[in-house]
Symmetry: C2
């Protein structure tokens, strides 16, 4: 701790990251862990440049990112302040099915989206356990989805949730529908997208030539209800683009 390359406020941030991200990470941490309470003032641009030893550009960009994340709010002539009770829960959600049919090329082409699923009991791996805040090897339900656009497999996804949540579910549904029925019980859901770039091993499942650019997903932590995902779906001969949202930091 405290070596010259990693001052305390750089914790959890790689030294190769842009400096503005280190400032963001430090302030975000203070807000999340309660060091900075709602309404508390954030250091001004000038103060940030001095405190973190960065330029004004980095300081401004950091404030802009934090404001875009909804953690702080800027008031002209006054300063930046922590927003009242900022929402920042790690909440993973994957809602491709809900969004595919709306305003995408699939729709323009009169395509229909359907999906198949298969739920199965499983034990939480360390990673899953951590995300769901369960003990390791706790019973979970793993559901595999195959989403189809106009009959053709478009995407594979897998979701995990605590087994107790699935007990009353007669049939798995895509997340948005499930969330509303599960209501307040859900705090976290993990979904993993299998078809990545390049992952030829999965290609035969998608009935595509191996090595094709199938699906690119940038999965990011959700802060509350803020989606930060963008993905491309490329099927040979066709090209779809889903805009879930936009990256927060350009």
């Amino acid at each position: 701790m405290g070596n010259p390359e990693n001052p305390p406020w750089m914790a959890h941030v790689a030294s190769s990251d842009p400096v503005y991200l280190r400032v963001v990470a430090d302030i975000r941490r203070q807000i999340v862990d309660g060091s900075l309470l709602p309404g508390a003032p954030i250091p001004s641009r000038a103060q940030l440049t001095r405190k973190y030893g960065v330029g004004e550009t980095a300081a401004r960009h950091a404030l802009r990112v934090l404001a875009a994340e909804g953690l702080i709010v800027g008031r002209v002539g006054s300063g930046h302040y922590v927003r009242a009770k900022p929402v920042l829960l790690p909440l993973y959600r994957w809602r491709s099915h809900d969004h595919v049919p709306l305003g995408t090329d699939l729709q323009a082409q009169g395509a229909r989206t359907t999906w198949d699923w298969r739920a199965e009991p499983a034990e939480a791996t360390p990673d899953i356990a951590h995300r769901l805040r369960l003990d390791e090897s706790a019973p979970v339900t793993r559901t595999r989805y195959v989403f189809r656009g106009d009959g053709r497999p478009v995407q594979l996804a897998t979701s995990y949730e605590p087994a107790e949540f699935s007990a009353t579910e007669e049939a798995p549904r895509p997340l948005a529908g499930r969330l509303s029925s599960l209501g307040v019980k859900i705090t976290e859901v993990v979904e993993e997208v299998y078809a990545r770039v390049p992952q030829p091993a999965e290609s035969d499942v998608l009935a595509l030539p191996a090595g094709v650019h199938v699906l690119h997903v940038e999965r990011t932590q959700w802060a509350g209800d803020r989606p930060v995902e963008t993905s491309d779906i490329v099927i040979p001969g066709d090209r779809f683009r889903l805009v879930y949202s936009h990256p927060l930091h350009p």
Copy 2:
């Protein structure tokens, strides 16, 4: 046309707006109206400064905003390009109920959210007809919701949808759930939030003192699935904040 205060690329943009927004508006217009096709290169920073007579800061900020909107994508070392089939449909959705229970104060306080609804046949007003792309006076279903946080009314909402979509719906549900079942048929949904600031007339429905700051909503056009809404819910004695998303431009 062509007066010095309003060159063609400034159409629809007030001359008092920041210059970077005028650049954004001009490029956005070209993308939306098809002048710039998917894959087409966007002028580089240097070219933008010359073309629009702005500084590099404005040019960069404009590109950043367009990228954040999902309309263009930047490739390091290459340039910015129009994204494949950018989604830019006016899609109004109001999903407060889906989101209230997740990661908000309501949840932290162990509150439960419930809602009541009442659906009724109606005729499309000109505005509704336009949004739903129906003829005037076409049959629609109007559904009124009362959302409750921990038993207390929190929000009123009204949604409209083509009557044919409601035929198979046994009971109205909040939007996210309905969208998935309605699938590709839905192109547009309009919801209106009634409790605004200040609208004392509605206060008695919410069982609040008249004139209290009930609900502030900034409703914005959705571009595809990108939410751009923030709202406060203030119940006397309590204070909640929902972060649906974040404003795109700081």
